[in-house]
Assembly symmetry: C2
Homo-oligomer: 892 residues x 2
Amino acid sequence: MEKLVFQFSQNEADGHAKMKDLLGGKGAGLAEMCRIGVPVPPGFTISTQAYHVYQAEQGVGEVIQVPVRQSITWLSENLGKSFEGHGSPLLLSVRSGARVSMPGMMDTILNLGLNRTNVDRLAQETGNRRFALDSYRRFIQMYGDVVLGIDIDEFERLLERTRHGQGVVNDADLSESSLDRLVDQYLDLVIESTGNPFPEDPYEQLWGAIRAVFESWQNPRAQFYRKIHGYPDEWGTAVTVQSMVFGNLGDDSGTGVCFSRNPSDGVNQPYGEYLINAQGEDVVAGIRTPHPIAGDDAKSMERCMPETYSELCATMTRLETHFQDMQDIEFTIERGKLFILQTRNGKRTSHAALKIAVDMALEGLISKEVALKRVDPQSIAQLLASEFDPESKNRVVESGNYLGKGLNAGPGAATGMVVFNPEQAVLHAEQGRKVILVREETSPEDIAGMHAATGILTQRGGMTSHAAVVARGMGKPCVVGCSELRVEASTGTMHINNRLIRLGESISIDGSTGEIFLGEIQTQPSPLVSKMLQGRIAEGEVGFPFQLLMDWADEVRTIGIRTNADTPVDAKLARALGAEGIGLCRTEHMFFGEDRIQLVREMILVDGPARRKRVLDQLQPLQMNDFYEMFKEMNGLPVTIRLLDPPLHEFLPHTPAQIKTVAEGMGVDENALILRVHELSEANPMLGHRGCRLAVSFPEIYTMQVQAIIDAVVKARGEGFTVRAEIMIPLITTSAELAYLVEGYRPMLQRAGLEDIPIGTMIETPRAALTTDEICQVAQFFSFGTNDLTQCGFGLSRDDSGSFLPLYLEKNLYEADPFKTIDRKGIGKLVKMGIQAARALKPDFKVGVCGEHGGDPESVGFFVDAGVDYVSCSPYRVPVARLAAAQSQLVE
Amino acid sequence: MEKLVFQFSQNEADGHAKMKDLLGGKGAGLAEMCRIGVPVPPGFTISTQAYHVYQAEQGVGEVIQVPVRQSITWLSENLGKSFEGHGSPLLLSVRSGARVSMPGMMDTILNLGLNRTNVDRLAQETGNRRFALDSYRRFIQMYGDVVLGIDIDEFERLLERTRHGQGVVNDADLSESSLDRLVDQYLDLVIESTGNPFPEDPYEQLWGAIRAVFESWQNPRAQFYRKIHGYPDEWGTAVTVQSMVFGNLGDDSGTGVCFSRNPSDGVNQPYGEYLINAQGEDVVAGIRTPHPIAGDDAKSMERCMPETYSELCATMTRLETHFQDMQDIEFTIERGKLFILQTRNGKRTSHAALKIAVDMALEGLISKEVALKRVDPQSIAQLLASEFDPESKNRVVESGNYLGKGLNAGPGAATGMVVFNPEQAVLHAEQGRKVILVREETSPEDIAGMHAATGILTQRGGMTSHAAVVARGMGKPCVVGCSELRVEASTGTMHINNRLIRLGESISIDGSTGEIFLGEIQTQPSPLVSKMLQGRIAEGEVGFPFQLLMDWADEVRTIGIRTNADTPVDAKLARALGAEGIGLCRTEHMFFGEDRIQLVREMILVDGPARRKRVLDQLQPLQMNDFYEMFKEMNGLPVTIRLLDPPLHEFLPHTPAQIKTVAEGMGVDENALILRVHELSEANPMLGHRGCRLAVSFPEIYTMQVQAIIDAVVKARGEGFTVRAEIMIPLITTSAELAYLVEGYRPMLQRAGLEDIPIGTMIETPRAALTTDEICQVAQFFSFGTNDLTQCGFGLSRDDSGSFLPLYLEKNLYEADPFKTIDRKGIGKLVKMGIQAARALKPDFKVGVCGEHGGDPESVGFFVDAGVDYVSCSPYRVPVARLAAAQSQLVE
């Protein structure tokens, strides 16, 4: 039998940091800390292997019990404490621990070992009967809730009644005799609720606690968390059993959470919060607002416990140096002595992650490659996220609609309608509304609602509260601990600074500043983006670490990164963000301009090629100028222009006013026009008369566009610009179709002396992907349109999938949203087959990818593997793709 | 250099029947006839190889001219005739000849060699100057039109003026002096039109004629004909040059066309038409209505020329025995002597093809296998085509709307609106209307219109006229030579028996009887179908040959043939037509019944699973009974039931009356209902919330259907029926999706003791086809839904493709309509990959195909190759598929 239990104590341990899979993050961290001499209460970890034994045996059997009993004996001897008999009682904490941290998902039991006898031993040992009783009642409550399944509100009601009876507000003010009575009431409640007395035997308590930790792996909240983070069910959890230390033995005790660097902005200074005379869950649950560890605050640890603070700082440095990453540490001070309960790589904001990674590389603590791997590409998008437009914000402030301020727990600006529970959040978000989830405090049950919300605001809790940690993980703007806020979820209202706000009203929150506003505020690019638009960033300026990381990424990656841009403004932005060209310039977007939509409508509605040509002649100089501006902006870089793609009826007038205008412009009857618009409508426009099919039916349109491109190239080159235009034909299904069109445009290019301009095609229908061996004989390059390829491949319209796709993801019927991350097994196979078939004939054939997947990190990794030459994505996703591409090439 | 010219003369020839690729059908046939001693005017064939030389050299150069001159010399010596000098002039016919006959597509020149000198020699030789002049003017006219490109109307105008001047109606009545003047006018016309005199040199004439034949291969009509028949452009045409014989030397001369068996009904008797004192084109063009060769008609050849008739019959028998197929023969009688000008396998109606093939096999002339290959599976559908409902027809007749009768040139009944030109036919057909194309006579320019029409009616022409031959080839009902009809295309009217009918009015024609009616007449199944529904057909009864051929087909084929049927009536029909089970029973069609659509609408519109369940409880017994009836009808055969597939909104009420009824039934507000209907509408329903996606969102629906199947199986089995039900889940994209659903239904089947009922899936999305290795682990069978697979694979909605697909086919951008014939390169590749991946894991995995392609002969051949176990098609296509499957297995 493999070893199932791993012991650890000061300076020695069976496990070590690399054993996260077996011991969980916590267990491995504790073992490693012991090895390097960090003060840790001794204990042992029951491995994930034991979880699988538990699963197989459906219970905590002898295979697990035997080594645990041995370890308890060892622990008793080590500490001189015991479950029974004389002297100090052996009290334990029991915690879950998966290989990655899942905050709030798993259940924890503290003070295990207490019973009617041991509570007296504890009182005797500590000389503090009040403390012993408080610990006992906490233990019964926690165990009753987590292990015995008793509604926690039942305990809270008794506690509340006791507080009320004694006339106090805080639990800490409860008298010994009140607690004595409360314990009796708790024990009675257990009998009433379960039919059995509360277990007296510490071993029985322990088996129950271990079982509860194992079971909690499969609870719905944990499953949901794994699903949204993509963690497999098979991992399982370890259980760490550790001797208790007490932060609630008096004012020389305390407990806290700290980070070795600031998790919000990444600055290299200790950061954290602690509470005096409290147990750890008081900090995490956010029920009492804690004090900072560092700084001049009168209640800071640095001021109140300067020696312990120094020891903590030294320990943090030792841990960070050892683990080569910023650490998130739980500690307890028991009568002035520091204990580290847990350390793990700290969660951090995107800003912090980037700064810490770059700083550590510059400090020589980690390599550039490790720094690149430390930053989640998804989080990059967050750095570039919009913030409030100052003017719009000013107007709101000047209108007296500044509401108040909380803690800036998750950076970014958000605006949306107020909802007060997760169900409302999901409901309205599904209907396309932006919502701000406002809660007294959040709990794991809220996760689906937090996921659906644009931003999160809570009344209580600190920077490490559930709401704050989860929101940062999700990259959502979040403001917590707003003490001026009073949420009344039941009535659908909130009060803040004497203002009443009802369900459905709009508010705006700034997760970077903690500010809260009534009404909607417009957003704008982040300062980082503004900075990059101005050119290279100097050292010390905002964005310098970002720029450095991007430079490092570019040194590593080999795949090209282009952008999807239809306007010079977007092109300029994308270029500033590192785009190496335009991979998709959609010409139809240019058609919606006010000066041309009327012409476009006439073009579609006129009868016959001759009249259509006359309208197109008017459109041509406008399109020419569009292209000319793009070429200038992208001087020296490739610009791939896709000819007209969407169904024509998308451009058509629909409102009576539009129809009237067009009818007048064309000199036709309004009713005739309505009829024609109706004729052009399609049952399934996505599969209809669009893309190159338009060019087969109405050759004049593409001919005009090609001529406009030619004229623009000639003009821009004439002015000294280096133009690298590429013409791309959409929705090809057969090589014959492409050849027919290319035969028309190639001579036009030749006549203009522009033989260097290649004509390529989108590969966006499955049939095209299946016949690239033929199409590559005609096309000069491919660009996989993975949006349409996914739609056709799945038979799934993105526009219509909202009514069932969420359910599919929830039930794991799809591994991921196929429009977000490329489906490797199906659509990815088409892409790979398509590339291989073309390259088998033409080894250097150029292949790009445009579409949303080009900016999705996981998909970028796939495209690198598939041998794609470049991906093209929206401007803000360009840095994401740059980093993702580098990371995918750093994978061993 | 390869031999380019192949000579033939009585009893000897360079070529033979197997050389169709090189000599064309005509050239090979003439060579073969010479070899077996049939009386044929001597000549030679310029091969299709020469066509390619012509194409390469862009002209008739020395490589072709040299062997042609040698052959002319040989011919002169053989016949004692010459291009110049004394004695008889050498006159030639020049004809096109591709490897298959393309009637009317290619141009023909007769009387080549005539000039001012030779016309006198001909007059002298025949002693008939009138005939010589008539031949000369015909030659100039034909050559002027075909080779020199002069509008034929210019000649016709001169001819008409001459007839008018002389006061005669028929060309045969023109006097010698009139013809003399006419020839001069013709020659002047040539100079005026072309700037050059008519070529006097017979060689110059010959080079021009050869060039014209070669060029005609590429004319638009020929291209169109090849496209609709799927013949490749690369074949090219041969040119056959043959010495002239004359059917217009007087009343002991004549010309005709005959078939060795009746091409209309297949009866084994000579059948044909001839004209006394006429050249061949008079028969083919349908300008004079000819007389029958056989029978008691006073002008029949059998009565007028009994000896020649006997010789013709003997020759026909010799040819049919030699070629082992029914022959279509052109002959000329020159002063009592019979010449066979051409023989080829005769075109025939579907009825005739089938009867001739079966008869010949029974006669021992051909094998059963050859008989099977002789019948075009597409034509089988025609045999089963509907005919007029007698009551509906009676009503029309009793209303006095019988209009008249023509020749029954193409069997089948058709009803539709009258159009008078091919443009109108195409226009209205594209708008979904059934049209009857009514013409004075048809010409090759009419082909597109004939293709678009439901039926064809002509005023002039016989059973072998252009209209008749082409219509039969296309399988269109056709009535020709209706002498009571007067068509005035220019005014958009026709008169028939003093009734005026305008463009757009409806008429009905019966191509089997030749009858014409005013108004629409309902159609019904053919007697063959009625007969088969009564059980096995006895020998000698209608349909016996059909039954025999089908039996032979079943002996050969290995692939199964099932049917798509949703009702017991369809199931019974399909079973009578040979279906071996139901491959696709669409449960949604059952939902449209009057007694349930209201319930279905409520099911969709109610809120929440509980209320939906209540409505479904009402639907369940109805569905149960549907299935029960199907099972009884298909006793012993498999019945594959597809669970609900289409988007729910297809069932919804749309008219105000429907909405009112449903709102009342549900007790909800009409406006709320309208809103809900609107909410359910989708941008691309084909890619939307349908198929198994409905079952994920609304599990109650499929659960109800599965329970209804279970109950129906139990009931039918309880009554002693052998039920082989199969449950099929549509629109699967991932194995997880299927597993999720199957997990729900498998226990239901187990509880009912129905473990034998397999649950399979449609493979109709490209992603499903790409991941069959996973899906086959969950499904118990596959059925490829090639309709949706084609739609998704091409990104092409069948509903919307009408606006551009015809253009795609015209421009050869698609090889065929992908909804009609499976696209082998793309969609076929998906099917093959899908089968291979599943069978690699499970070698015996059952795979079917349902969808239109299952009834398309070419596609069936593909599915046999791909290893499909069975195809499923609509009932009337079942015999088509049976034959096609047998044929595909007979290919060497």
